[in-house]
């Protein structure tokens, strides 16, 4: 369990689509963090829908639909899917904060549940003060520090 591995208890971290795709297609630190800390991550249902609908972009090894679906569905064990009803009341607030309409559900979720922040590779899309005054935008290094309490995942 994550808490046993890290010795720390923390709030949930919201995963942006680009981080999820990295976990799916690239070995390395992103995949390691998520798999080793499966009880720390959430994402809006929109993220899973968006990632699946655009699988042709990241299924670069041309896995069959059945194989891909089976692997994709296992990601729900590691990142908890949050239904729209949970963050719906903050959708309008979020629309006023973020330019990209496809980022609205992430911001709305961050406004709706207790969380550590949004983990994204696209921090510059979230730089507006109206967002950063209310939501932490996390780089991978910040996620490592938040979860492991140090600068590296290696003990």
């Amino acid at each position: 369990m994550a808490q046993e591995e890290t010795g720390r208890i923390g709030k949930m971290i919201i995963i942006d689509t680009n981080v999820f795709i990295a976990m799916q297609i690239r070995p390395g630190i992103v995949r390691r963090i998520i798999i080793d800390n499966h009880d720390r991550f959430i994402s809006p249902d929109f993220m899973f829908t968006e990632a699946w609908e655009n699988r042709s972009y990241w299924n670069k090894n041309n896995m069959t639909e059945d194989e891909l679906k089976r692997i994709f569905e296992r990601s729900y064990d590691y990142i908890r899917e949050i239904p729209r009803e949970i963050y719906e009341e903050n959708i309008e607030n979020a629309k006023g904060l973020i330019m990209d309409p496809d980022d609205v559900s992430f911001v709305a979720l961050a406004l709706s549940v207790e969380n550590e922040g949004i983990w994204t590779f696209n921090t510059k899309d979230f730089v507006r003060a109206e967002i950063t005054d209310n939501i932490r935008i996390l780089t991978t290094s910040e996620v490592v520090r938040s979860i492991y309490g140090r600068d590296s995942i290696d003990s």
Partner: protein, 85 residues
């Protein structure tokens, strides 16, 4: 010891000398009973094995030499195309 209806009792055979060594180590490691030690290690084993199996499956999707920026751009591209209809 009572067994709940959701549990199954498992019987293992071990050589006496090996069992003596195991019992000594179980006590040294702070477990109160063989059952407590066994349950803890089974949980750890399953969790580790599941992670390894998942990583093995994910490795079939691995793409070489793709950066954070490449992935962010991939997502932006599909969003732009969606909006363009």
């Amino acid at each position: 010891m009572s067994i709940s209806s959701k549990e199954t009792q498992i019987i293992f055979r071990l050589e006496k000398s090996q069992l003596d060594r195991l019992d000594r180590m179980i006590r040294l490691m702070g477990y109160r009973t063989r059952n407590e030690w066994f349950r803890h290690n089974i949980r750890e084993f399953i969790s580790k094995a599941e992670k390894e199996a998942y990583e093995k499956e994910l490795s079939r999707l691995d793409t070489n030499d793709i950066s954070d920026e490449d992935i962010a751009e991939m997502v932006k591209t599909w969003r732009r195309k969606k909006r363009a209809g």
